[in-house]
């Protein structure tokens, strides 16, 4: 199983609680990706987010830079909000990064985004939410699936492409395209029908409860005649690894609390509840926060339910000190990974 990290960028906090610069957050994210490559992590996902606290707005640019500075790690968006972007541009940016990487290390994960700030930002109407996503995904797949540079496509959300060149082509002919979902059953069915790999973002609850969704995904794929390597599952959750569970909790909780206070203010939630955190931070909760033994065990346990091929963790939010992020990434690659492999082999 591949292990990885993902991030939306995490703007550091001043002692008085105000935000430091978003440029620094971008630089930290870049450094974390390069570090992840050095310590041997399999995957790094860059989210698309447009807030001061999480400013990773341009995964394509970040991944292109990271592609030049890394050797082995797989780089992907987690996810690209294609509804409010131009799929031609998204494809081009990732194909450029793919070329820079030498080929085969760059992926696109297409999603809708869990919040709607990209709609006013890029001038789209939320009433078109479903249609924008469906058509733009179709266009992205059409470009990716094309055997030639020239692409023809028409739809209602974007001008027609009539035999126009979309370059560069990926080194390996195609880019892997994943579908991101937060657990809406019809998204699982749709990803299966399209024959695309699926990436579950599990931000709460009990992750093993996603098993029926995975089954729906696999059966929808089989019904549509899709088999083979492309039918696979990845899982993204919160998580942080430290030498001990106690340290992991201590390091992760303040950022989680900050994030939830901010989200609560923005989204009208009640104040964060420590009880909720404590439940989520223990098996079978959704936060993979602990020492390498525990996190490895919980990933393998979840694998028994979901059969996922990749598990990747978001540790940095709410101003997690960069050194903790880097240590978590190193432990994930050097301590959790061998344990996961051992446990899976023993099954």
């Amino acid at each position: 199983m591949q292990l990885g990290a993902y991030s939306f960028g995490d703007t550091q906090l001043n002692p008085d609680g105000t935000h430091r610069s978003t440029a620094e957050a971008v630089r930290n994210l870049f450094d974390a990706i390069v570090h992840a490559d050095r310590v041997g992590l399999d995957y790094f996902g860059v989210g698309e987010h447009h807030t001061v606290s999480m400013p990773a707005s341009s995964p394509g640019a970040m991944i292109a830079a990271a592609a030049a500075a890394t050797d082995r790690i797989i780089l992907g968006s987690a996810a690209s909000i294609i509804s409010t972007d131009d799929p031609v541009r998204v494809f081009q940016q990732f194909a450029v990064a793919d070329a820079i990487s030498g080929g085969g290390r760059v992926e696109i994960t297409a999603g809708r985004g869990s919040s709607v700030e990209t709609f006013p930002l890029f001038g789209f109407d939320l009433r078109d939410y479903d249609r924008l996503y469906a058509e733009k995904l179709d266009l992205l797949m059409t470009i990716n699936g094309s055997t030639a540079e020239d692409v023809t496509w028409s739809g209602s959300v974007r001008p027609t492409l009539d035999n126009l060149a979309v370059v560069p082509r990926p080194v390996g002919g195609r880019l892997p395209i994943w579908i991101a979902t937060g657990g809406n059953a019809s998204s699982s069915a749709r990803a299966g029908q399209l024959g695309l790999p699926i990436s579950y973002g599990i931000i709460g609850g009990e992750p093993h409860r996603f098993a029926p969704l995975v089954e729906l995904y696999r059966r929808s794929a089989a019904q549509a005649g899709h088999t083979g390597d492309n039918i696979k599952v990845s899982v993204a959750t919160f998580g942080l690894i430290a030498p001990t569970k106690e340290e992991a909790l201590e390091r992760f909780y303040p950022g989680w609390r900050n994030l939830n206070i901010e989200m609560g203010r923005l989204r009208g939630w009640a104040a964060p509840d420590k009880r909720q955190f404590d439940i989520q931070a223990e098996a079978p909760g959704a936060y993979f926060v602990g020492d390498p033994d525990e996190v490895a065990e919980r990933i393998v346990q979840l694998h028994g339910h979901l059969g996922h091929v990749r598990h990747f963790l978001q540790a940095d939010h709410g101003g997690l000190p960069q050194e903790y992020l880097l240590e978590s990434i190193a432990l994930l690659a050097t301590e959790v990974k061998p344990r996961v492999e051992r446990l899976l082999a023993a099954k």
Binding site: E117, L216, A271, D273, R275
Partner: protein, 222 residues
């Protein structure tokens, strides 16, 4: 006695409520926006035991209807279908998720009152909107358990409210009546109750606090 529940919406909330209802012993009909056949596989796997139907069929023999469609789509439900039914409105006007909806921004009524007025012959109750859908299934506990959570219920029709409260209790929660539908403002997005976790006493206290803050209605002034 309610034995069959019809759920409009087979999304995150609709399927979670469907499983909770099956677990509590109810028969469940569930519908998306299209034909029953479109969601048959989905329902078989994700809400095993429920019947996938069109919206019209799902509500036809239901003793209680749950509306769990995205708020901006409520007008795609034909109001005649729900005449005479007890209807639970689980929907929220939640700007960060729904975007800015002028029809709700510009209206002095609460979202559930707008829904009630759109379904004039239905007996609308607002509840199940302030608990996360994934918690609904995992957090239910037997009556009397010291950690049992509470869920608020608002509605104008006493008998309909009583039926909804019984459902909440069977899901494993203390049901707390907040008052007429307009008191639903106390547990909408942006309140201390929304998304929080409360015992019955804590919830009552929050509701009392909120009712102190609510402007008095004309009747109360007179």
């Amino acid at each position: 006695m309610v034995s069959t529940i019809g759920i409009l919406g087979a999304g995150r909330v609709g399927t979670a409520i469907g499983r909770a209802a099956l677990g509590a012993g109810y028969a469940v009909n569930i519908a998306g926006s299209g034909a029953g056949a479109d969601i048959e596989l989905l329902v078989d796997i994700v809400v095993p035991g429920a019947r996938a139907m069109s919206a019209r069929d799902a509500v036809a023999d239901a003793d209680l209807v749950i509306v769990a469609v995205p708020l901006h789509k409520f007008r795609t439900i034909s109001p005649g279908m729900l005449a005479g039914k007890i209807v639970i409105d689980t929907m929220n006007y939640w700007e960060p998720i729904d975007g800015r909806l002028d029809e709700f921004e510009r209206d002095a009524r609460t979202s559930s009152e707008i829904i009630r007025d759109y379904f004039p012959e239905a007996r609308v109750v607002k509840t199940l909107n302030h608990i996360g859908y994934h918690e609904l299934e995992t957090d239910g506990l037997p009556a009397g358990h010291e950690e049992r959570r509470a869920i608020a219920v608002a509605g104008d029709d006493d008998a309909a409210v009583a039926v909804a409260m019984q459902l909440i209790e069977r899901f494993g929660y203390d049901a707390i009546y907040s008052g007429p539908l307009q008191t639903g403002t106390a547990f909408q997005p942006g309140t201390a109750i929304f998304g929080g976790r409360h015992s019955a006493d804590e919830l009552r206290a929050q509701l009392a606090l909120a009712s102190g803050q609510r402007p008095l209605s004309g009747a109360q002034l007179a």
